[in-house]
C-alpha cells in the first residue's frame, strides 16, 4: 500500500494486538528470574530508625533482602529538570534515614517465586519515629515542618517572569478577575502497570526491559546511579501499555533491579501491582493557580499577575517543578497580554511525587485563563466568543513572542474559533439550552480555547530552562540489499502509533510502499542517542523530521546509485514509484532491489559514494511549534444531585500537517476522554494522616464507555515553519482545553451565584456553586 503523508495508513500493530500478540515486559519469559517485591512505608512521614528483615530472610526461596544501607555506595538519582537555585532531594531507590510518603519503598526482597517475595516483603517491619506531616501547599508554605531540613524551606525551585507595568495596568483596569483555580491530583493510570526485567549477560553487560517512554534516560540514570559504563547497558522498551507521561522518567526500580541483578548475578523481575501503581508511580496535576487578570471596558486584557504552585509530593525527581514552569510559561496562551508578573514554584509535601502527565502544566493554565475569560465576558456583558476574538494574537503578528518568551509560530485563531463554533451550532445551542429545562435537568453550553506546546526541543531552550536532556532527535536508516528499508529511531511507541507515522514519512520520501519500511525502535542497542525521547508531543514533529531528513539523505544515495545502473547523469534521474528513472523517460527505470544490488555488490563505486546504503540525520528544531484549538461542549447537569453528563463535544484543532489523520483523531479523542475523567470523576485523595485513600480502581473512577459522548473533530491546517514537514504535535491537545470547556458549560447551566473553580467538578462542588448545598 502506498501511504502518502496525509493518508491514514493502518497500524499493523493493532492487528497484532487483536491476535493477542502484544509483547509487554510482563510477557517476556524469564523462568530463571528472581522476583522482586518491595516493602513500602505505611506512614507518611517518619524518621526511619531501623529495619527488621530477619523474618523475611527466613522465608524459603528468598535469595536476598536489601535496604537503603545496601545502596549507600550508589549515586542518588538526579533530576531531569534542574532550574537555577533548585533544591535536590538526592534520594536513592530505597529510603535511608527518613520515610517521606506512604508507599515509599525502603526494602526489597528477591526470591525464587513471586509468592515468596511478596510474603517476605510483608514480613519486613521498620521502627519509626513519627514526624509531623506536611499535607498541603499551605502547610508546606509555612515551613513549620521541613521534609529536607537542609533546604531551610519546602520549596524545590521558583521561576519568575515579569514584563511591563502590571501594577499600573491592573489599577487602571475596568475589571479585574482574581480567583484561585485548582486542578486536582489525578493518576495517569496506564492500564499496563510499570514493569522491569533485568538480565545480566554473559559478557558482563546488563539488559533492562522496562515499560518506559525514554530508553536513553533510563540508561543514563542507571549508568549514573550505579557507575556503569553506558556501552554495557542495553535498555529495551517492548510494547508499552500506555504511559501518558507517567513513564517518561527513570524510576528507582530500574536502578534497584539492576543493582540486585548484579549483586546476585541472576535475572530479576518486578511487576507493579495496581495498588503499588496508585502509591508508587507518579501522579499528575495538583496545581493551584492564583490568577489576577485585568480587562478594559471592551474586554481586552490589560495585564496578568499570577502565581502557580505545584504540590510536588515528597520527591523532586523526574521533571521536578517542570509542570508548574510550563503552566506559568503558557498562561497567556494565544492571547495578547501587554504586561505580566507570573511566578511558578513547586513545594514538597508528604505525598506520592507528582510528575509528568499528559498536558504537563497546560490544562492547569488553560483552566485558569479560559475560566477567567468566561467570568470576565459574563461580568462585562460581552459574548464569550467575542471576548476571545478581541484578545487573540492576530495571524499577521505571527510568529509572535509571548511575554514569557515562547514563540507562537503559526495559525489562525479567530478562523478556527469561528469555524468550530459554527459547526457546533454555538449560537443556537446557547439559546436553546435555557429553554430546555426538564425537571431538575439543565443543559449547559460552553467552550474553551487552548494552545499546546509541541515539538519540544531546541537544545538551547532545554538548557536555558534547566532540562538536562537535549532536544535534538537522531534517526538512522538503511536500505537492505533486497531494496527494503529499516529506520532506526529512539522514539518509543506507547500506543500513539509513532512507528506507523515514521514508516509513512520514510515511504513517502523514498516513494516505496509503506510495508517496505520497517521501523526499529525501543532498544538502545539499535537507536542512536536521543535525549528527550518520546514526550512533549515531539514524536511526529521532531522524530518525524529526522526521519524525513535521513530519508532524503538516503534518497540522494539511491538516486546516484540508480543513475549508475541507468548509465545516466545523476542530475537527470528521480525517485518515483519505488524506483529510479530518468526524468520524463519511464522506459529507463530501475527498481530499488536493482539499485541496492548495485550498492551492496558494486562493480565500481562512484566518486563521493561508499558501498552500501545507509544514512544518519539529526533534526534540531529551531523553535517550539504551538498547536491550538477550540473545544465546544454541551453538558447536562442535574441541579438536585449535582451530577454532570457530557452530551456532545466538537473539537476544532490545528496541529499543522497531519501525517496520519486517523492517528491524530485517536490522540484527540483519547485525550478528551482522559480530560472528562479528570474534570468530573478522577481524584486521588489522602486522609488526615496523609495516607492514600485511593488505592484501587474500585475507588478511582476512570471514565467508562458510557461516560464519553461522541466527539466530532474540526480540522484546520497551518504548517509550522519550524519543522521540515510542517508538522506540529497533537498528543496532549485533547486534555488541555477540555476541563475548562466543561466547567464553562456547567457554569452556564447553573442558576446559583457561585463560581466553579476547582477540578474535578464533583457533585458536591456543583451543588455548592449552585447555592443548593451548604
Amino acid at each position: 500500500m502506498t501511504a502518502k503523508i496525509g493518508q491514514s495508513a493502518l497500524r499493523p500493530d493493532i492487528a497484532r494486538f487483536a491476535r493477542g500478540e502484544g509483547n509487554y515486559v510482563s510477557d517476556i519469559p524469564a523462568p530463571d528470574a528472581l522476583w522482586i517485591a518491595l516493602a513500602r512505608s505505611s506512614v507518611a512521614h517518619a524518621e526511619l530508625i531501623s529495619i527488621n528483615v530477619d523474618a523475611a530472610r527466613r522465608v524459603p526461596g528468598v535469595r536476598g533482602v536489601f535496604t537503603g544501607r545496601d545502596l549507600a555506595g550508589t549515586t542518588p538519582q538526579s533530576s531531569l529538570w534542574d532550574l537555577p537555585g533548585q533544591n535536590h532531594t538526592h534520594l536513592r531507590a530505597l529510603a535511608e534515614d527518613r520515610l517521606r510518603y506512604a508507599g515509599q519503598p525502603y526494602a526489597a526482597v528477591a526470591a525464587e517465586t513471586r509468592e515468596a517475595a511478596v510474603q517476605a516483603a510483608a514480613l519486613i517491619t521498620s521502627d519509626n519515629r513519627p514526624l509531623e506531616t506536611v499535607g498541603s501547599i499551605d502547610e508546606s508554605l509555612t515551613g513549620d515542618t521541613l521534609l529536607y531540613p537542609e533546604w531551610k524551606s519546602n520549596a524545590v525551585a521558583k521561576q519568575h517572569w515579569e514584563f511591563g507595568d502590571v501594577t499600573g495596568a491592573l489599577t487602571q483596569s475596568h475589571l479585574v478577575v482574581a480567583e484561585r483555580f485548582m486542578s486536582g491530583r489525578v493518576h495517569p493510570m496506564s492500564l499496563e502497570p510499570r514493569s522491569v526485567l533485568v538480565r545480566p549477560e554473559p559478557d558482563g553487560s546488563l539488559t533492562i526491559w522496562t515499560s518506559t517512554q525514554s530508553i536513553h534516560q533510563v540508561r543514563a540514570s542507571v549508568a549514573e546511579c550505579l557507575g556503569l559504563p553506558e556501552h554495557r547497558l542495553r535498555v529495551i522498551a517492548p510494547d508499552v501499555g500506555g504511559s501518558f507521561g507517567m513513564k517518561a522518567c527513570a524510576y528507582g526500580e530500574e536502578t534497584l533491579l539492576a543493582f540486585i541483578a548484579l549483586k546476585l548475578n541472576r535475572p530479576v523481575r518486578w511487576i507493579e501491582t495496581r495498588r503499588e501503581a496508585f502509591i508508587g508511580s507518579t501522579h499528575g496535576r495538583d496545581h493551584r493557580f492564583d490568577l489576577e487578570t485585568g480587562f478594559d471596558a471592551d474586554g481586552r486584557i490589560t495585564a496578568m499577575r499570577g502565581e502557580v504552585i505545584l504540590d510536588k509530593g515528597a520527591d523532586a525527581f523526574g521533571v521536578s517543578i517542570g509542570t508548574a514552569w510550563i503552566s506559568g510559561a503558557v498562561i497567556t496562551s494565544v492571547y495578547h497580554v501587554p504586561a505580566i508578573d507570573i511566578s511558578a514554584s513547586g513545594l514538597v509535601t508528604n505525598k506520592t511525587p507528582t510528575g509528568a502527565y499528559r498536558g504537563f502544566g497546560q490544562p492547569e493554565a488553560a483552566f485558569a485563563i479560559e475560566r477567567t475569560l468566561d467570568i470576565a465576558a459574563n461580568r462585562l456583558g460581552i459574548d464569550a466568543a467575542e471576548i476571545r476574538r478581541r484578545n487573540f494574537v492576530p495571524s499577521y503578528a505571527l510568529p509572535y513572542t509571548t511575554p514569557t518568551g515562547l514563540v507562537l509560530d503559526s495559525g489562525d485563531y479567530t478562523g478556527l474559533l469561528d469555524l468550530t463554533l459554527s459547526r457546533f451550532g454555538y449560537t443556537d445551542r446557547t439559546r436553546a439550552a435555557k429553554s430546555r429545562a426538564m425537571g431538575d435537568i439543565r443543559t449547559g453550553v460552553g467552550f474553551a480555547c487552548y494552545s499546546e506546546v509541541t515539538n519540544f526541543g531546541p537544545s538551547a531552550l532545554c538548557k536555558a530552562i534547566g532540562v538536562a536532556n537535549a532536544g535534538f532527535d537522531v534517526a538512522t536508516i538503511r536500505m537492505e540489499p533486497s531494496g527494503h528499508v529499516r529506520l532506526f529511531t529512539s522514539q518509543t511507541p506507547m500506543g500513539q502509533g509513532i512507528e506507523t507515522v515514521l514508516a509513512q514519512i520514510c515511504a513517502d520520501e523514498l516513494t516505496v510502499p509503506v510495508e517496505d519500511v520497517a521501523v526499529v525502535h525501543g532498544d538502545t542497542l539499535s537507536a542512536s542517542y536521543t535525549g528527550y525521547a518520546s514526550g512533549g508531543s515531539r514524536g511526529a514533529g521532531v522524530g518525524g523530521a529526522s526521519a524525513a531528513l535521513v530519508s532524503r539523505k538516503l534518497a540522494d544515495q539511491i538516486r546516484r546509485w540508480g543513475a549508475l545502473v541507468l548509465k545516466a547523469d545523476p542530475a537527470e534521474v528521480e525517485l518515483i514509484q519505488g524506483g529510479v528513472q530518468v526524468v520524463d523517460d519511464p522506459v529507463r527505470r530501475c527498481s530499488m532491489a536493482a539499485i541496492a544490488g548495485e550498492a551492496y555488490f558494486p562493480s565500481t563505486v562512484p566518486e563521493g559514494l561508499e558501498p552500501g546504503l545507509e544514512a544518519r540525520a539529526v533534526f534540531e528544531p529551531s523553535s517550539l511549534a504551538i498547536s491550538y484549538g477550540v473545544v465546544a461542549v454541551e453538558i447536562e447537569v442535574d441541579l438536585a444531585l449535582g451530577t454532570v453528563r457530557v452530551k456532545d463535544v466538537v473539537f476544532g484543532h490545528d496541529c499543522g500537517v497531519q501525517i496520519n489523520p486517523k492517528i491524530v483523531e485517536g490522540q484527540i479523542i483519547g485525550g478528551v476522554a482522559q480530560a472528562i475523567g479528570a474534570s468530573l470523576f478522577e481524584t486521588i485523595e489522602f486522609d488526615d494522616a496523609m495516607l492514600p485513600v485511593t488505592t484501587s480502581l474500585h475507588d478511582y473512577f476512570l471514565p467508562l464507555a458510557a461516560d464519553i459522548p461522541t466527539i466530532n473533530l474540526v480540522h484546520q491546517t497551518t504548517p509550522t515553519p519550524f519543522s521540515p514537514l510542517g508538522v506540529k504535535g497533537v498528543g496532549e491537545s485533547g486534555v488541555i482545553g477540555t476541563p475548562a470547556a466543561i466547567a464553562n458549560a456547567v457554569q452556564h447551566a447553573l442558576e446559583g451565584s457561585g463560581l466553579l473553580l476547582t477540578l474535578p467538578l464533583t457533585p458536591e462542588r456543583v451543588l455548592k456553586a449552585n447555592d443548593t448545598l451548604r
Partner: protein
C-alpha cells in the same frame, strides 16, 4: 508471569510449605450439605466468587477449603408464578435478567441493571449477593422493600433478619441459602434509583428502593447513608413525595452510624437520598 496478588497461596508462619485451599464442586444439594457439614468452620462456599475472591486477596483469612456451589442444580431454580417469585441462590444476575419472568418482580430489572457490569453480572449470584451482606447491594435493597423470605436448607426467615450487626450475615455455621421467595408482587409497584460516582458502572453512592402496594402504602429502603441499609414502612402516606421523603429520613436519621467519605460527604449523601427518594415515590405513585 502473573502479577495478581498471590495471596490465594497461604503462607504459614514458619514458611515451610505454601498451600492453597482445597476445592470441591458438589453437584447436588445433598452432596453439598454433606461436604459442608464435615467442617463448616474451615470451609467457605464460593458462588460467583466476585466478592469472595477480592476479599481473600486483600487478606481475609484463608479457608482450608472452598466449596463451589455453581454445579448444584437445586440452587438454580427460577419460578415465576402468579405474583410469587422464587429465585434460586445459584442463579446469576445475567440468567435472571435473560429469563422471561424478570419483569414479574417489580423493580428487578432496574436494580440488577445497576450491578457492576455485564461481566460481573455473568457470575454474581443471588445467594452470594445476599450472603455477602454488602449494604450497597442493589438486590437486597430491592428485596427488603418487597419483604422477601430467605429459604435455606433448614429454615425460612424474613430477609431483614439475615443482616447482623457488623455487616455480617446471620447464617448459622454450615447453613446454605437455597433461594429467596417473594409473595404477592403482582399487586406491588417498585422503583429503584441509584446515584453512582460516574454515569456508568460503579458501586452505589446512594441507592433507594420504594415499593407501593395496592392500598398505596409505601415501604422504603435506602443504602449509602447509614452503616447498614435501612428499610422501613412509611407512616403518613398522604404527604407529598418530598415531605414524605424528608420525614422518613428524619425519622431514621439517628438509627445508625452515618456514612461519609472524601468524595461524598454526609450532607451531600443526605440530600441525594432525599432527592432520589422523592423521585422514586413520585414514580411509584404515578
Amino acid at each position: 508471569m502473573s502479577f495478581v496478588p498471590q495471596l490465594l497461596a497461604e503462607f504459614p508462619e514458619d514458611g515451610t510449605t505454601m498451600k492453597r485451599p482445597d476445592f470441591s464442586a458438589p453437584t447436588s444439594l445433598l452432596e453439598l450439605k454433606h461436604e459442608y457439614s464435615k467442617s463448616p468452620e474451615g470451609t467457605m462456599l464460593i458462588a460467583g466468587g466476585q466478592s469472595l475472591l477480592p476479599a481473600l486477596f486483600k487478606g481475609r483469612s484463608m479457608p482450608d477449603k472452598l466449596i463451589d456451589i455453581g454445579r448444584v442444580a437445586e440452587l438454580r431454580r427460577l419460578e415465576f408464578g402468579s405474583g410469587n417469585v422464587f429465585l434460586g441462590a445459584g442463579l446469576t444476575f445475567t440468567q435472571i435478567l435473560a429469563s422471561k419472568g424478570a419483569t414479574v418482580l417489580p423493580g428487578l430489572v432496574a436494580a440488577l441493571g445497576y450491578v457492576g457490569n455485564c461481566t460481573i453480572r455473568n457470575r454474581a449470584t443471588v445467594g452470594g449477593s445476599l450472603a455477602w451482606a454488602d449494604p450497597r447491594a442493589e438486590l437486597s435493597l430491592l428485596l427488603l422493600v418487597l419483604d422477601a423470605v430467605v429459604v435455606t436448607e433448614r429454615r425460612e426467615f424474613a430477609l431483614a433478619d439475615l443482616y447482623g450487626e457488623a455487616g455480617q450475615n446471620n447464617l448459622a455455621p454450615g447453613e446454605i441459602i437455597v433461594g429467596v421467595r417473594v409473595n404477592g408482587c403482582d399487586a406491588k409497584k417498585c422503583e429503584f434509583l441509584e446515584l453512582m460516582p460516574r454515569a456508568s458502572a460503579g458501586r452505589a453512592v446512594i441507592g433507594v428502593a420504594v415499593c407501593c402496594d395496592q392500598l398505596g402504602s409505601l415501604r422504603i429502603a435506602v443504602s449509602g447513608l447509614w452503616k447498614p441499609q435501612i428499610c422501613a414502612s412509611v407512616v403518613g402516606c398522604d404527604l407529598g413525595a418530598e415531605s414524605l421523603a424528608e420525614s422518613w429520613l428524619t425519622d431514621h436519621c439517628e438509627a445508625a452510624a452515618k456514612l461519609a467519605d472524601i468524595a461524598f460527604g454526609w450532607a451531600y449523601r443526605r440530600r441525594a437520598a432525599a432527592v432520589l427518594m422523592t423521585r422514586a415515590i413520585e414514580s411509584v405513585r404515578r
